[in-house]
C-alpha cells in the first residue's frame, strides 16, 4: 500500500528526464507557477475546512474545554491523554475493538469485493443488472440499513429464523447484538454487506483496464482459470489494490454510524470504537477537550498504521 508515497513518482520522474536538458528557465518557472495555480483552490479549501478545524481540535485537546460551561478554559497539559490511557477502560477497549474490526473487515471486504467484481465482469447476459443490485446497499442510507439489521439480529428476528430453517432447528441463534461475544461480529457482517458493492465497483474499473490480449496469450500458454487470475489479473490490479486497501482501512478505522444506531458501544463496551467514544465524550458529555484528545490519539494511530502499511508494501516492491 502506498498510502503515503506519491502514486506517480515514476511517471513524474520519467516526464522530467524526457524533457530536453536545454529547456529554458522560463519554461520551468511557468511550470512551477501553473502547478501552484492549479493546486491552490484545493489546498486553500482543505486548509480552511480540514486543517484549521483539526488544529483547533489539537489545541483543545490540551485544555479542559467544555461545550457548555461558564468556567474559564484552562491549559491541562497532558491530563487528557493520561486519563485516556490510565483511567478510561472504555477507551482502551475501544482501541482494541477498532483494530479488531479493521483487521477483519479489510481483507474480507477487499476479497469479497474482488470476487463480486470478477463475477459481474463475465460476459453474460444481465451482468449490469447484477452490478446494480450488488451496489444497492451502498446507496441506501446507512442509518436505515442499520435500523433494519438491528431488527433482523433480534432473538426472534429474521437472521435466527433463517438459521433455524436451514439447520432444521438444530442450532438456535442468539440475540446477536446483545451478546458481548457476537455483537462486534454482527456489526462486521452488516458493514461488509453494506460497503462491499462500492469496492466491487473499484475492482471492476481495474478489471476493465486489463487488455483481453493478455488473457488470450495466457490461454495459449495453457493457463487455467486460476493461473490466469494469478499471472494476469492480480498483477494488473496493483494500482487498484492500493486504492481499495486505503479506502477500506480508513473507513474501517473510522467506524461510527452503525455503532451509534445499533448498539451505542454496548453490550459492555463490546462494540465501542475510537470515533464513537470520542464523540460520546466530546459531544454527548460535552467534554470537548477530552474528546479532542481522543481524536488526536486516533489520528496518530491511523498515521502509524498507514506508515506501517507503507513500510510493509515497500519491501514487496
Amino acid at each position: 500500500m502506498t498510502a503515503i508515497s506519491p502514486p506517480d513518482t515514476r511517471a513524474v520522474g520519467a516526464a522530467a528526464s524526457s524533457f530536453p536538458r536545454r529547456r529554458i528557465r522560463a519554461d520551468l518557472r511557468s511550470e512551477r507557477r501553473a502547478g501552484w495555480a492549479m493546486v491552490a483552490p484545493a489546498v486553500l479549501l482543505l486548509a480552511a475546512f480540514l486543517i484549521v478545524p483539526v488544529l483547533l481540535g489539537f489545541v483543545l485537546s490540551f485544555t479542559n474545554a467544555r461545550l457548555v460551561s461558564p468556567e474559564p478554559v484552562g491549559f491541562a497539559g497532558l491530563d487528557n491523554f493520561v486519563r485516556a490511557f490510565t483511567a478510561d477502560p472504555t477507551f482502551v477497549r475501544s482501541l482494541l475493538n477498532t483494530f479488531c474490526f479493521a483487521a477483519v473487515v479489510v481483507p474480507v471486504q477487499a476479497g469479497f469485493g474482488l470476487v463480486l467484481a470478477i463475477l459481474v465482469n463475465q460476459k453474460i447476459r444481465g451482468a449490469v443488472a447484477f452490478r446494480v443490485i450488488f451496489f444497492i446497499p451502498v446507496v441506501t442510507s446507512i442509518v436505515v440499513v442499520s435500523i433494519l439489521w438491528k431488527f433482523m439480529y433480534q432473538r426472534d428476528g429474521l437472521v435466527n429464523s433463517f438459521i433455524d430453517s436451514i439447520t432444521f432447528g438444530a442450532w438456535r441463534g442468539t440475540a446477536w447484538l446483545d451478546n458481548p461475544s457476537t455483537a462486534l461480529a454482527a456489526i462486521i457482517v452488516l458493514s461488509v454487506w453494506q460497503a462491499v458493492g462500492f469496492h466491487m465497483l473499484i475492482w471492476l474499473s481495474g478489471l476493465q483496464t486489463i487488455p483481453e490480449e493478455l488473457y488470450e496469450a495466457a490461454r495459449i500458454d495453457g493457463a487455467g482459470a486460476w493461473r490466469q487470475f494469478r499471472d494476469v489479473t492480480w498483477p494488473c490490479l496493483r494500482p487498484t489494490r492500493v486504492f481499495v486497501l486505503i479506502t477500506i482501512t480508513i473507513a474501517a478505522l473510522g467506524l461510527f454510524v452503525q455503532v451509534d444506531v445499533m448498539t451505542q458501544g454496548g453490550p459492555v463496551d463490546a462494540t465501542s470504537t475510537l470515533v464513537y467514544h470520542a464523540v460520546r465524550m466530546g459531544y454527548h458529555q460535552q467534554q470537548i477537550g477530552y474528546g479532542s484528545a481522543l481524536s488526536l490519539v486516533f489520528f496518530v494511530l491511523v498515521l502509524v498504521v498507514a506508515l506501517v502499511q507503507r513500510f510493509l508494501t515497500r519491501d514487496k516492491d
Partner: protein
C-alpha cells in the same frame, strides 16, 4: 514560560472565536426586523403539535403590533445538535424549548435568563412542569408526560393477579410473583420495560425505579457526588434485580421501540408512557389498565419534567418573548396540546376541559399518577454527564456486567466530571 505561551495560544484560538461571535451577533440582531422574535421548537414532523403552535403564534401576532414571532422547527432527533451548535456559535434564538432536565446546564452556562413570568401563572402549573434551578424559575411547560404499567384486566384476572391501585401499588415481591406467573402461563417475555430505546429514556424511565428502591443518580442534598447514591447498597440491590429481570427473560431489549408488543399481546405488562395510551386504548378498549408503578420499597416513583420553554440570555426582545409566553399559557391552548399529543396538561383547569384527562376522561389515571408520584431529575448543570453515564452503566448491567464495580465506575466518572467543573457552582 512554555506553559504560558501555550495557554496564550489556547486563549487566542478560543477567544478569537468568542470575540468574533459577539461581533456577528450584534450585526445579526441589527439586521433582523425590529420586534421580530425567533422561536425554536423540537416539533418538526409533528403536524398536530405544530398546528397548535401556529394557532398561538397567529393569535399573538394579531393581538398586538409591537412584536412578531417567527417560528423555526427542528426534528426532535437533531434538535440538541442544532442547539449545541447554535450555543457554540452564539446564535441561540430568543425563545427555545428544551427537555426539562437539561435546563440547569444551560442556565449555569449563562444561555438562559430567568423566565420572569407572574407568580400566579407559575403557581397554577403542575410542579414538574416548572423548571427551577437554584430557586429561580428558568422554564415552564404546557404539559407533562407520565409513565405507567399497561396491562389487560382479563389477563390479570385469568392469572389471579391482584390489580394494584394508586393507594396500594404492587410491592416488589408481588410484582416478581406476577411476572413469574405470567411467564409460566404463555408469555415468553411477560414484561416490556422499553429497554430497546436509547438516550434520555434510560434516565427518565429507570432512575425513578432506582429512587423507589432508595438510591438516586446523585446526592441531591449537596449535588457534589454520586457516591453512596448510585453505588450504595440500595442501588446495588435495585440493579441486581434489574439485571435479573433480563437474565430471567422477564424482559428483553428487543426492538422496536414503542408499544406494539403489548398491542399484539406478546407481552402482558408494558412499562411505557402516556403517549402510547391512545393507540393502546383503541386496540384494547375497556380491557386496558393504567397501573401505578411498582413500589421498590420507598413508594412508587415516576419521572416528571417534559419539554419546557425558556428565554435565551442574549434575547434583545425579552419583554416580547415574555409577553408571548404569558399569552401562550391559556387553558384552551394547553387543552389543545393535551388532546392532540395525548400528554397531561399543566393546569388543572386545562385538564378539566380535556377529552382524555378530565375526571371522566379515559386517561385521567395518568394525571393522578403524575400528581402523586412524579419526581424531577436532579436540577444540576452536571446532568448531561450524569444521564449519559447512567445510561451506559444501566445498559452494561442489563448485558451482564458486574453490578457493584459498574456502578463504582459510573460514580467515579460523574464525580470526576463534577470536580473538573468546580462542583458546578454548588
Amino acid at each position: 514560560m512554555k506553559r504560558k505561551s501555550l495557554s496564550i495560544i489556547v486563549a487566542a484560538g478560543l477567544s478569537a472565536a468568542l470575540a468574533l461571535g459577539g461581533c456577528a451577533r450584534a450585526s445579526q440582531d441589527s439586521a433582523g426586523a425590529p420586534g421580530e422574535i425567533t422561536m425554536w421548537t423540537h416539533s418538526a414532523g409533528n403536524p398536530g403539535e405544530l398546528a397548535v403552535y401556529k394557532q398561538i403564534i397567529a393569535d399573538f401576532n394579531a393581538s398586538q403590533h409591537q412584536y412578531k414571532i417567527v417560528q423555526q422547527n427542528f426534528p426532535q432527533g437533531s434538535y440538541n445538535d442544532a442547539i449545541t451548535a447554535a450555543a457554540a456559535a452564539h446564535k441561540l434564538p430568543c425563545l427555545l424549548d428544551m427537555d426539562g432536565p437539561v435546563m440547569p446546564n444551560w442556565a449555569w452556562a449563562g444561555y438562559l435568563q430567568p423566565l420572569g413570568l407572574p407568580d400566579s401563572l407559575i403557581n397554577s402549573l403542575l410542579p414538574t412542569t416548572v423548571g427551577r434551578y437554584r430557586n429561580t424559575v428558568y422554564s415552564a411547560g404546557y404539559w407533562d408526560a407520565a409513565l405507567s404499567i399497561f396491562a389487560r384486566r382479563s389477563v390479570l384476572d385469568k392469572n389471579n393477579i391482584r390489580i394494584p391501585t394508586v393507594d396500594k401499588p404492587w410491592t416488589l415481591d408481588e410484582f416478581d410473583a406476577a411476572v413469574t406467573t405470567l411467564k409460566a402461563n404463555g408469555y415468553a417475555t411477560p414484561l416490556d420495560l422499553g429497554a430497546a430505546d436509547t438516550g434520555e429514556w434510560w434516565s427518565y424511565a429507570y432512575s425513578p425505579m432506582l429512587q423507589s428502591a432508595g438510591g438516586d443518580l446523585i446526592n441531591r442534598g449537596t449535588m457534589k457526588s454520586a457516591d453512596g447514591a448510585l453505588n450504595g447498597p440500595d442501588a446495588v440491590t435495585f440493579f441486581t434485580w434489574f439485571q435479573q429481570a433480563f437474565t430471567n427473560k422477564w424482559a428483553d431489549n428487543s426492538g422496536p421501540v414503542g408499544n406494539q408488543r403489548f398491542i399484539d399481546n406478546k407481552v402482558a405488562l408494558s412499562y411505557t408512557g402516556v403517549w402510547n395510551a391512545k393507540d393502546a386504548l383503541a386496540a384494547v378498549g375497556g380491557d386496558l389498565l393504567i397501573l401505578p408503578p411498582v413500589d421498590f420499597g420507598k413508594g412508587p416513583k415516576i419521572g416528571g419534567g417534559s419539554w419546557q420553554w425558556g428565554i435565551s440570555a442574549g434575547c434583545p426582545n425579552a419583554d416580547g418573548a415574555r409577553a408571548y409566553l404569558k399569552f401562550s399559557f391559556q387553558d384552551s391552548y394547553l387543552t389543545a396540546f393535551a388532546d392532540s399529543q395525548v400528554v397531561i396538561p399543566s393546569t388543572a383547569s386545562a385538564a378539566a376541559a380535556s377529552k382524555y384527562f378530565s375526571d371522566t376522561g379515559a386517561l385521567h389515571q395518568f394525571a393522578v399518577l403524575s400528581q402523586k408520584f412524579a419526581l424531577a431529575r436532579p436540577a444540576t448543570p452536571g446532568y448531561p454527564v450524569i444521564s449519559s453515564t447512567f445510561e451506559k452503566a444501566a445498559k452494561d448491567i442489563m448485558n451482564g456486567a458486574e453490578v457493584k464495580s459498574t456502578l463504582d465506575t459510573a460514580v467515579q466518572a460523574i464525580d470526576t466530571d463534577i470536580k473538573s467543573q468546580n462542583n458546578y457552582g454548588f
